[in-house]
Amino acid sequence: MTDFFSEDEVVITVARLTRVQLVRFVEAEFIKPQRHTDGYVFRPIDIARLELLCDLSQDLDLDEIALGIVISLIDQLNAARQDLAAVARVIDGLPADLRNRIDTTLKQG
């Protein structure tokens, strides 16, 4: 039982992806599979990312340069969202008086 996909399995799972495209995405480092003794292994996150790359390149016709910019922005967006969630969790755990002060400051902001 495994959560990893071989190159063959990736091309089957992401039906509209060709092997040539997969190799291009790995070369361009849009996809960073783990190296294994007998080639690359792909994780579920790589599959989801490949679906996204297919949406962007095939449905929206982005070329490789635009694809690089968009995927980088999406990564930055996700990093920012994660930071924001971390801050929100910290604030949520603060004592009530501190939360009120933050609340007040926000409303003044």
């Binding site: 996150i45 679906e51 449905d59 990564d75 996700n78 990093a79 939360r99 933050i102």
Partner: protein, 315 residues
């Protein structure tokens, strides 16, 4: 999800292929879950749009929909996971540098973030956006006997944790095909839905039948007299033996077709055929009368099946 793909894309039935593509692109920009990670409704909208586009972009399926042969759900894509569901996983290899770098002043970061949030929402929804993600898919392989795959069957697989999972093999399942059992994968996180079980089917070869698409191939031995004179013989099929007429003068390699005796694939109207390849088999110990007759026949008849072959070899 609207059942009308034209409605889903906001188009009239007369829309051109170009207009369909344009409308789809515009909706992807506004509804792709990975371009709008905070939009909870994006996934459902995108799913409807993608299904509609999958149906309309192909002139053939579009024509079939227009003719009423298939409905709008026919082209629904299998469930997929979006990148945003993984983006917060702790081992995300694509994670770029956090805002909280070594040199950053935490006060500035807080001020920045809070200022931005204050403009749009009250402080009340802090903390309400818990991390939620769908569970991972679990992958298994399953070896299935040839006839079970062809006719469809039900079986069970035992999972490593001792539980068993009922698997329905649809009629006509092919070697290497993957079956998806919704929600039978790993549990989700934070109330997210469970993943799917993906079962790759390996079809065990059959000693007699072979498969080519929806057709079944079979090699049928016949005798010399059946080959020369023709006759009625019995041939096995995947649904039991049937009568088959061998035409007079049939040689080895001649293929006879039993229409509709092939694979009936789930969701398809027409069945495949069974192709029967004839193979003339000489008795292991030909009796005296046969020997005598053929010796006589050889003397008086000239038939050279290799004439064309010898000529062809010289060019």
């Amino acid at each position: 999800m609207p059942n009308d793909p034209y409605e889903a894309l906001g188009l009239p039935k007369s829309a051109t292929a170009d207009a369909i593509k344009k409308a789809y692109r515009k909706l992807v920009r506004t509804s792709h879950p990975d371009l709008h990670p905070d939009d909870a409704g994006a996934e459902a909208r995108f799913k409807a749009i993608a299904a509609a586009y999958a149906l309309l972009k192909d002139p053939e399926t579009r024509a079939r929909f227009d003719a009423g042969e298939i409905d709008g759900l026919g082209a629904e894509r299998p469930q997929r996971q979006y990148y945003r569901d993984f983006a917060h996983a702790p081992d995300n290899a694509y994670q770029q540098g956090h805002g909280f770098g070594a040199n950053a002043d935490p006060a500035d970061i807080f001020a920045e973030i809070l200022r931005n949030r204050g403009g749009t929402r009250g402080a009340d929804d802090f903390g309400t956006r818990d991390f939620q993600a769908a569970g991972a898919d679990a992958r298994y392989t399953l070896e299935v006997p040839f006839l079970d795959a062809v006719r469809g069957s039900e079986t069970k697989i035992t999972l490593p944790d001792g539980q068993s999972l009922a698997v329905k093999i649809p009629r006509g399942t092919e070697d290497g095909q993957t079956l998806r059992l919704r929600g039978k994968g790993r549990p989700g996180f934070g109330g997210g839905p469970p993943g799917d079980a993906l079962i790759t089917v390996m079809v065990r070869p059959h000693p007699v039948f072979r498969r080519e698409g929806d057709d079944i191939l079979l090699t049928l031995p016949i005798t010399i007299d059946e080959a020369v004179l023709g006759g009625k013989v019995t041939a096995p099929t995947i649904d039991g033996p049937v009568g088959l007429t061998v035409p007079p003068g049939a040689s080895t390699g001649r293929v006879l077709r039993l229409r509709g005796r092939g694979v009936a694939r789930a969701g398809r109207k027409t069945k495949g055929d069974q192709k029967v390849e004839l193979k003339v088999v000489v008795p292991p110990e030909p009796d005296e009368s046969l020997r005598e007759f053929l010796s006589e026949w050889r003397k008086n008849h000239r038939f050279d099946p290799r004439v064309d072959l010898m000529k062809g070899a010289e060019t």
